[in-house]
Every structure is written in structure tokens, then in C-alpha cells.
């Protein structure tokens, strides 16, 4: 039963990830006064990419060939560790927060390698930026999830979220603060607006998009799909803070999952509408701000017990 539920959760994540991004884009278009592409547009794009031929650059080596697949597989593995609704995830053991972080790190590492492998100077630039900002984004994850892990006393994502009790007021504060920094983490890792503009196609200002500039066909399909999944993974990471796990109800869990995704897509759309992209030199500061929140969390917990 547990395995079945885990498989269903992974399928939910795979199936609804493009829908989520479509929802964000549609709301963003509405907020800026445009009609916008249909909500199902990401599915159509994936379908189109799937049918196209894959062409690799002459200079590229074997890394460019297997990097897209590795990226995709590692994101699915990460997705299998997250609880959807009230269900136990497929992979869950003590200490899986470390595995979660490093699986995402692995996918990023190979994406950076593949970008440098092609030999285009623009892609090298994008890879350098991605590496720099990833360096600042990693502490956010460890300080935030780490502090929650300290508080709850568990080291598995499912157990951590399972132990959240909303009747204790100081717990609620931790949840709110952590959700702020996880939101900033999601924005950074998925290269959304204040850090990177997903719609821009000027090579000098791009971060994530420039790395997949020379990929086509199935490779591009895998990269795009994994970036959709990545955003959805971070969304779930954020929503999971608000599960009323103490009530132990499947129905409420699923309702909160749906409602939370809708609210978060609206929040992303609003943030992307009202903010402009930061200057490159200001981004580390933005990320350090989120880390500072995590440190504050840890400090408060440690010295008030």
C-alpha cells in the first residue's frame, strides 16, 4: 500500500509539474494585462520538443549525451522523496534530507559540465553564474531544513513534516520564517524572476536558459521537463510546511496540497510581476539574506529551549 501511494505521488509530481508552470505564466500574463498562452502550453511545448530531432554540437563529448538523462532521473529521484498530500513517499529513510540536497546538486553539477562541454563561450558564462549562485543557495537549504530538523528531532523529510504541530505558537513562527526562505530558495534554484528572468533571450543576462541554448530535440525536452519538475519539487517543499499532519486526514492533506499549489502559483506570479531582475552583483546579497533568516531560526531555537 505504501509503495503504491509512493508511486502515485511521483506520478502526480511528473504529471502536474507542467500544469503548475502554465498556471504561473497564465496568472503572470493576466496581472500584466495580457491574455497569455493557454494553461496547457507547457504540455504542447514538451510534445513539440519530443517530436524533434536531437542534434549535438561537433565539439561535444559523451557528457552532453548523458547529462540530460541524468538530470531528469535525479530530479525524479528527488521527487520520490517528497510527501504529496498525506502519503508516505517512495524513498524515505533517516537522513534523506542530505540525499535530497545532493541529488539536486548532482543534477546541477552535470548540467554545468554539459554546458561547458559544448564549448560556446556564452554557455561557459552561464555555467559560471549557475555555479556561483548555487554556492550561495546551498546554505539556505541546509540552514532552513536543518533548523526544522533540529526542532523536530528527525532527519527524514517525511518525518520532519509529519512532526509539525500547528498548535504550538513558536512552531508556527518557525514555519512562517522557514517558508519565506524556502520561497527565496525556490526562486533561485528554479531561476525565476528576481534572480533570473525565464523569458529573456539575451545571452548576457541569462543564467539558466543560456546553459541549454545549444540543446535540441529530446535533450531539450529532458532539460525543460526537469526544470518544470524542479519548480514543482520546491513548491511541494514549501506547501508541506502547512500540512495539518496532526489531524491525520487524507482528504484535508490533499485539499491543502491543491489549495497550497494554487496560492503559491499566485504568489510567484505576483512576485514576478512586481519585481524586476536584480543586478548580478546584488544576487549574492539576496541569497545571503535568506541564509541569514535560516541562521536566525537556528539561533532562536538553540538559545530559547
Amino acid at each position: 500500500m505504501d509503495i503504491l501511494q509512493g508511486i502515485i505521488s511521483v506520478l502526480i509530481i511528473l504529471g502536474f509539474a507542467p500544469l503548475f508552470i502554465g498556471l504561473v505564466n497564465k496568472q503572470k500574463a493576466k496581472l500584466t494585462g495580457r491574455i497569455g498562452a493557454p494553461i496547457l502550453q507547457p504540455y504542447y511545448e514538451l510534445q513539440r520538443l519530443f517530436k524533434k530531432e536531437t542534434i549535438n554540437a561537433n565539439t561535444s563529448s559523451f557528457i552532453s549525451r548523458f547529462s540530460p538523462l541524468l538530470n531528469f532521473v535525479s530530479l525524479i529521484t528527488a521527487a520520490a522523496m517528497l510527501p504529496v498530500g498525506f502519503w508516505k513517499p517512495l524513498i524515505s529513510f533517516n537522513g534523506d534530507i542530505i540525499l535530497f540536497a545532493y541529488i539536486l546538486g548532482l543534477s546541477r553539477f552535470f548540467q554545468i559540465l554539459a554546458a561547458m562541454d559544448i564549448g560556446s563561450s556564452f554557455e561557459g558564462m552561464g555555467a559560471a553564474r549557475e555555479a556561483t549562485f548555487a554556492l550561495f543557495a546551498e546554505p539556505i537549504f541546509f540552514f532552513t531544513i536543518g533548523s526544522i530538523s533540529f526542532i523536530s528531532g528527525y532527519t527524514s523529510l517525511f518525518d520532519i513534516y509529519h512532526s509539525i504541530q500547528l498548535d504550538n505558537i513558536s512552531y508556527e513562527v518557525f514555519i512562517v520564517i522557514c517558508s519565506i526562505s524556502v520561497f527565496m530558495l525556490a526562486v533561485t534554484e528554479c531561476s525565476r524572476m528576481p534572480v533570473d528572468d525565464p523569458n529573456t533571450h539575451l545571452e548576457l543576462t541569462m543564467i539558466h536558459e543560456v546553459m541549454i541554448l545549444d540543446n535540441s530535440g529530446l535533450d531539450l525536452f529532458l532539460y525543460q521537463y526537469s526544470s518544470y519538475i524542479k519548480l514543482f519539487i520546491y513548491t511541494i517543499l514549501e506547501i508541506s510546511f502547512f500540512y495539518p499532519f496532526s489531524q491525520q486526514s487524507y482528504l484535508v492533506g490533499i485539499l491543502i496540497f491543491v489549495f497550497g499549489s494554487l496560492v503559491l502559483s499566485l504568489a510567484l506570479a505576483v512576485v514576478e510581476t512586481i519585481t524586476s531582475r536584480y543586478k548580478m552583483k546584488n544576487i549574492p546579497q539576496y541569497l545571503l539574506f535568506a541564509t541569514a533568516i535560516g541562521i536566525l531560526n537556528l539561533l532562536i531555537y538553540t538559545f530559547t529551549k
Partner: protein, 210 residues
């Protein structure tokens, strides 16, 4: 509840150390004023009295409405540039703030073992005092110095509520009046400087001679 408000207060301190707009400082001052007035209001919710409600209302009036709008008015009137001019990089400033807060939290938890005090409000107030001083040291604009001074003052207020649960009311009202007068004088002083010098930077004042 007191802890929750103090944590929000600390978050606003982080924001004040990364923002690069004078408007951001004013918004943070408003936010902190709101937090402090709610904090003062809380004890009176249990045993309500007309006399007790005066302080929260005055706080709200002075810290949330009067002072921020006065600073906004100065910014508009004197046409001050909207970006702060830091003397060190913002990221270094933020690192300094984080390091300071770590030290303060550790030391206040050590203090709390021997005396009776509320650690989170105490440490937040203490950090606000330190950060207010940092703002005054590491920024060039005079109007930002006023904001830093007000952050410092908010810190002292929070600090006071953590150490002694109830200060005599007249003292607290006196503190408020003091601040308002200082801000008022600062506005006048800025206006005077305007008539003598062009800029509003501290570096210009180094060249003052008689």
C-alpha cells in the same frame, strides 16, 4: 506572542541591512513601530484600562504615522536621492550583521542563565541597537543616519520591555517625546544645511570651517 513579534522585528533588521533605498528604511520604521505598539498593547488586553491604552496609541501615532511621514516629507521637500550610499559593500554589511547577531544571541543566553529575562526580545533589542549604530557608521546620507538612530531607539524600547516588564508610563512617554523632538530638530538642521551646502552627505561636513 512576545517572541513572535520579536522575531519579526529581527527579520526587519535583516531587511534594513540589505535594502538600498531610503523608502525601504522608512517602511521598516513603520513596521517596527507597529510591532512595538502591538507589543505594548498585549498586556492591556487582559486587564483593560483607559489609562493603559494611552501608551500604545501614542506609540502608534508617533512611530507609525508622524515620524515616517515627516521623514518622507523631508525626502520629498529636499529632493534627496533615493538610494542610500553605503561606505562598505552591502554583502559585507550583512555578514557583519549576522556575526553580530550570533554573538549577541549567544551572550544573552549566557546572561539569561543567571538572571530572569526574556531571551528573544532582549537579544532582538540588543541587535537593533548594534545595527542602528552600524547604519550610522557605514552610511553617508544624513537622512539615513536619522533612520539608523530611530532603529537604535526602537531597539532600546524593545530591550526595555524585555528587562523590566512595566516601566513607569511617564518615562516611556518621555522617551517618545525626546525622539520626536530629535527628528524634528534634524529636519530643521537638514534644511539649514541645505541653505549652506548643496549635498546631504557626511563627507561634506568634514570640510566645515569657521
Amino acid at each position: 506572542m512576545e517572541n513572535v513579534l520579536s522575531i519579526l522585528f529581527s527579520l526587519s533588521l535583516f531587511y534594513v541591512s540589505v535594502t538600498s533605498r531610503v523608502k525601504g528604511y522608512v517602511a521598516v520604521l513603520r513596521f517596527q513601530g507597529l510591532i512595538l505598539s502591538v507589543l505594548v498593547l498585549l498586556p492591556f488586553l487582559k486587564n483593560f484600562s483607559i489609562f493603559g491604552i494611552i501608551l500604545p496609541i501614542t506609540l502608534l501615532l508617533v512611530k507609525v504615522i508622524l515620524i515616517p511621514s515627516y521623514i518622507n516629507k523631508i525626502i520629498l521637500d529636499l529632493d534627496i536621492k533615493r538610494v542610500i550610499e553605503p561606505t562598505i559593500q552591502q554583502i559585507v554589511f550583512l555578514l557583519l550583521v549576522i556575526a553580530t547577531m550570533i554573538v549577541i544571541f549567544i551572550s544573552s543566553s549566557v546572561i539569561a542563565q543567571s538572571t530572569e529575562l526574556n531571551v528573544i526580545p532582549f537579544a532582538s533589542g540588543f541587535s537593533a541597537i548594534a545595527i542602528g549604530i552600524y547604519i550610522i557608521i557605514f552610511r553617508k546620507k544624513l537622512i539615513v543616519h536619522v533612520c539608523g538612530f530611530l532603529v537604535l531607539e526602537n531597539g532600546i524600547f524593545l530591550f526595555g520591555t524585555a528587562v523590566a516588564s512595566e516601566l513607569p508610563m511617564m518615562i516611556e512617554l518621555g522617551v517618545l517625546l525626546d525622539v520626536f523632538v530629535v527628528v524634528f530638530l534634524m529636519g530643521i538642521a537638514l534644511n539649514k544645511i541645505r541653505s549652506t551646502f548643496e549635498g546631504f552627505e557626511v563627507t561634506d561636513l568634514g570640510r566645515l570651517k569657521d
